[in-house]
Each structure stands twice: as structure tokens, then as C-alpha cells.
Amino acid sequence: MADFTWVWAGPTCTMQLAHMGADVIRMESMRRPCFIRTLPPWPDGRPGLNRSGYFNQYNQGKRSILLDLSKPEAVDIAKRIAAMSDIAVENFAGGVIDRLGLGYEELRKVKPDIVMISMSGYGKTGPESGYVSYGPAQVPLSGMSTLTGYRDWPPMHVGMSYGDPTAGLHAAYAVLASLYHREKTGEGQYIDMSQCESTMVLLGEGIMDYTMNGTQPPRSGNRVPKMSPHGIFRCAGEDRWISIACGSDVEFAALCEAMGRRELADDARFRALADRKGHEDELETEIEAWTLTQDAFELRDRLQAKGVAAFPPMLNRELAEDRHLNERGFFVEKEHPEVGVRKHAGIPWRMSATACEVWRAAPTIGQDNEYVFGELLGFSSDQIADLVAREVIH
């Protein structure tokens, strides 16, 4: 794979394919290093292009080479890599890849059946196609913010740059579907992806409300129309909470039993879903008066033992130490030359018959120059020295 991506969305796409064994070659620039290489977290707080946990999380299992794509010779090298690739991925703002001379029309000349995807913020067509966009802005842009938030409070973000991973995953899916088509027909193709639309497709319930009724669901905190209780309640300790959701009257009765308040299940205010929805403030007050005295994790186990869905909002440390995730072997800890062994989130799926793993830690910048320029492209050491001297490669 010829990987021209940067920041978070594009790298998420190419990482999915790396997970399944694709040989992903990141083409990076020293003049404008990948933005997230410059962001924390860094071990000991000491910055460095190879030290960012953010970059290292989303570039596991890839190679990296350094070249200066403002130079025609570097563009030719990139094309030689594309000619050896099945897939090319880029997520510059609309039009940038064409100006670099590495657009689909150019790449298909050197590799007629290549599958190429452009993941721009707004897509390649339409009046806003040239606009710049990043994952954090796609949450409000997509409409997600006006649907998310506390009752009668302002629109909210969702705590992460949701547009990025969402675009990356949908892009990986579209690439694989195209690869499937190519395997059957021999035909490659070009995919024009709009990152902000990839969040909109996850808001079907909100958009359909508007197209059916001309309204949109009000922001409702943690409540939903078809379940009650459905909330996050304060527990003992500072900033400790537990989420509890009951999908049926039976589950609600089990919750009441765990609370030692069986009578609540027969209370006319709470008996059936419609009753509970009509008295949700009172119900939540009753529940929180009880959870406030409880340890969140002990409570989770007691409620789960009774078949009630409950889980504390997990902090990063709790995830890292979580016995379930560790027992399942979810985390990846590969040796990295500059940050040592660190815990990273792994692959959220397992495949029984094909290898599916992170084969090595994220690359340091230009880590694979020798392999790619020398072994793969066949440049002699003199040629490489000359290219370096002329700053075509670094």
C-alpha cells in the first residue's frame, strides 16, 4: 500500500489493512512531518517526532520513508512505489494530491488496476470541496453536536475527534470492497470519500426524524425514549460514576432487588416503561441516593450478577489495567527504539483462519528508507547518497 496519509483519519484506514497483513509504506515529509508526530503524549514529557503516543497508536505495523514530494524526482519515486502497490490512500484537503502530481489519473498510468481512495474533509465535489477540515470539527459539522448534550444545555462535542476514526474505518471498508471487486474483474477504481459524511451516516435516527417529521431529537443527556432507567449515576468517591440501563421491566425489577427496594418495581410510578418515563426525575433520584453509597466496580459486579447492564465510565488507567481486556490479549506492547515497550490499543476483532496482528511498533520517521529505496526499489548506495545529498529523500 502506498500510504500518503497523515493526522488521524487516513492512518486509521491504512492501519486496518496493516492489521490484516498489508505492507503499508508511509511516505513522510521532513519539511512538514505528520502533524500528530508533534503532539503528546511523550514519555517523560520530552517531545520528539518518534516519541508521540498518539502517532504510535495509529501507525502500528507500518513502514515509513522520507521524501520531499515538492521535488519531481521524489514524485517519480512515489509513483514507482504506487506502481508496486494494490492500494493508494491519501487524506489531504481536496485537490492537494492532484497538485502534487499523484492524483488517481497519474497513478493509474503507472498501475492501471490500482484502488485509490481520497479521504478529504468534504469530498471531491460540491461547493465546499476545497474547504479544510479536521476530525474535531466534523463532530459539529456532521450534526452530531446538536444531538448530543445535557437537556436544555448547549450542543456538545463527544470527547474525541470522532470524524477521524469513523472516516478511517469506512474508508478501509470501501477499499476492501473495491479490492474484492478487482479480484473478480481485474478492475481498479477511485474512491472519493467525504470524512464529514462518514459521521452523518452514523446519525440515521436523527436525520430520519427530520426527513419524516421536520424535527430533530432534543438533547436528552443520557436518557433515551425506549429504556428507563438509562443514566450515569454518582457513586462513592470523587468523580466516580456508574452507567445503568434497563431494557425491560424484568431488568428493572432486578435492579430494585439489588437496591433492596423491591417495592419500587410495584410502585405505580415505576411499574412499566411508560410509568418510569413519566417519573424519570424521581426514579433517578431514588437510584442515585443508593449508588452514592456504593463502590462503582463492586456495584457493577453485583448488578451484572442479577442481569442488569451496568458499567462505570472507565478511565484510561482502568482500561490499561482491566483484567478482561488484558486476559483477552487486546493490548499490543512491541519494542520501539525510542519509547521502549508501551501499551497500545490493539485490534478489536479476531480472525480464526488468517493472521491478524500488529507485526511491529509504529515506525520512526524514515525507518524503512534502506529497505524501500535499496531492497524494494533497487537503488544502489551511491544513488541513495546522491538522492540524499540533493534532498530528494532524507
Binding site: 474547504y131 448530543t148 456538545m156 476514526p165 426524524d209 450515569i232 445503568i244 484510561n316 486476559e327
Partner: protein
Amino acid sequence: MACALEGLSVIECGPNIAASYASKLMADLGADIIKVESPAGDPARTLGPFPGGKADPEASGTFLYLNSNKQGVTLALDKPKGRAVLDRLLADADVFIQDYPPGEAEALGLTYQRIREANPRLIMASITPFGLSGPYRGFKAYDLTVASAGGWTAVNGWPGRPDMPPLRAFGQQTAYQAGVNAAVAVMGAAFQQLKTSRGQHIEVSAQECIVSILELTFVMWSYMEVPAVRWGQRPIHPIDFFECKDGWIFVLCLEEHQWKSFLDMMGNPEWGEWEVFANPFVRASNWDALKPLIQEWVSEWTVDDLYRAAQTKRIPFAPVSTMADLLNSQHLKARGFFAEIGHPRTGDLKYPGAPYKLSGTPWELRTPAPRLGQHNEPVLGGRLGLSPEEMASLRKDGVVA
């Protein structure tokens, strides 16, 4: 023009929307999906939104959106005869996607061990809240508790307001995430199936799907032992909402040149030179002081004027869109993002389209979501060749609705 996944045969079932979303992604690129519902119907039929707010299992917006382009049959999988019919469907299929919780899947015989006997080249995907192994595998879960178990709600409360609880994002995002992850893994397996005819089992954990997209929050612990904070870890600023004259705008400067351009737009105020705002990291530590200065300037603008003006200078601001804004967007109209399709109960409606356009193979809405049991005859009678007597007997036994 042929669709990318033409000829790929997929069977889908389960009580959640994760399997529905995974197979929707495939249906819309041309795969042949048979959705197996219980005789009572997919629970998504009860979720709405409904036209006029009136509950109708044939008009639930969630169900209609997720199940267009599919054929629907009803089968009682808790009855041996229902399972036998499912096995016959699976015998000729390429892919089977289901999202029953592990215990229920086992009780229904939907284990890979058993399914592979019916069809060794089948790809089976099991989508569950916590995976098929580990101490939480049997935990009861809904979107809210999975979002919490994955570390999402902890980063999504209002910052600086510890009296307000951690918060979910709108909709059933954990199910959508599990669904798209499943679609990725299934397509990887399907690509290999084309080459080797080998089947396999894919197991997706929704909790892990969330942990793997926490941006820099998770690694903040493993690299620096910095605990998760609300709104996620924002080491740099500005990244925030501001109020304009007529609504909200999202102000974002990630790269330093974008900040410089923004200062320029604001007429290079004196405070732009202050040491305390000199780089993105100190702007973040001094955000409480900086935010009101930006707010004062922003409040003179309308959302649309500020959005266009910023984008003209290549600063990535964004409007805080309502659903109406999306449906009225000239950009989305020009791209043909919304797709319209008729349905006997709701009439013509616009649906969200696809976030991608494939140059050689179409994405399209061909048929609306199936009515309950709409394709029992063509699929069970036609495709499987059950005789009218067999069909009648299945109906009598409550196996087929």
C-alpha cells in the same frame, strides 16, 4: 454497471443494530442480504423515529435506514425447525453476520463450531459487547454501558462541571462502530475467501472497538500516566464552541499557521502577542483567559459569514449543524449525499447516503427495507425450494410468521 459486491451472499440476524449496520454497508454496495427476523420482528422496528410519532413496526426510521436493499424473512430460531431452515440458508451463503449476546447465540446453536459443519467455506462474524472470551463475556450490555466500558463516556462530560455526569454521544454509536469494524474484517476475510475458498470465524468486541478509537486519551496513560479528562485530552487550543449572533460555531486552529491566520482575521489584537498565548500548548493551559477574548470577537459575526471567512483563509472552522442545516446544505445537495426512496407506509423519504463514491461500481438504494416476512415466499419457497405444504407446516408451528 455492476456493483462491487455483486454475488456476495450474506445472511444476517440478531437483536441489535450492529449486524444490521455491517450488512447494510454490504447491501448498499450490491451484496445479496437476507435478513432473518424473529416472528416478533427486529427490535429496531420499535425504536423509531416514527412519522407523526405514532409507533408502527413498518415505519421505524432506525429500521428503515438500516435495512434498505435487503430481503427479509421470519424464522423462530429458538425452534429446531427454524434453525434447520437457517442452516439451509447458510449452506449456500458466503457470509453470516449475527449479533446475539454470547449466551443467547449458544442457546440458539449459533456457534461457529456448529455452523462450519453446515458450510466450511462460510465466513461467520459474531458481534458482541465484550467478545467471546474473558471475564465480562456474559455481561449484560446496552450502548450506554458499552460506551462506558470502552472509556468513552468518561471523556464526554462538561469540563469543569463535576456536578454534571459523564455523557453518552447521540444514537447507538457503539453498535455502529462494532458494525463498521465487522464489515472491515468480513471484507478482509471475503477477499481471502475468493482466493482460497476458506471460511473462518470473526469475533468483534464492541468494547474494544471503542478503546481503539480514544484518540490520545488511552496513550496518555501508557506514555505519561496522565489520567483521562473530560472532553478528551486537548493539549492544544483553540478547539471549542463559540456563540455567534445567530448560533454556534466551532473554532479550530490545529496548526500554527491556522492560528496566525485567525489572529490576522481578528485584526492582530495586542493580546495575540502575549507570551501566555505564544504557542498551542500554553494557549491550552491559559484557555480560561483566552476563551473570553475570542468570544468577544466571534459574537459580532453570523455563523455562516464567519465560517466562509475562515475557510477563505484556510482555517478549519465549522458550523454546528442542525439536521435542517444538513438537509438544506448546498454542498451536500451538489454531492447528492441524501438518497430518496419510496416505501408503502411512509411514502418517499430522504435517507442518509454513503460517505464514499466509487468510480467504477455504484452505491445505490434499490429497494426499501422489507416488511416483516415480506420475502418468506421468494426466499424460503423460491430459493430454498420449500414446498407449499412445508411452508404451511412451518407457519402452523409458528416457525415462520
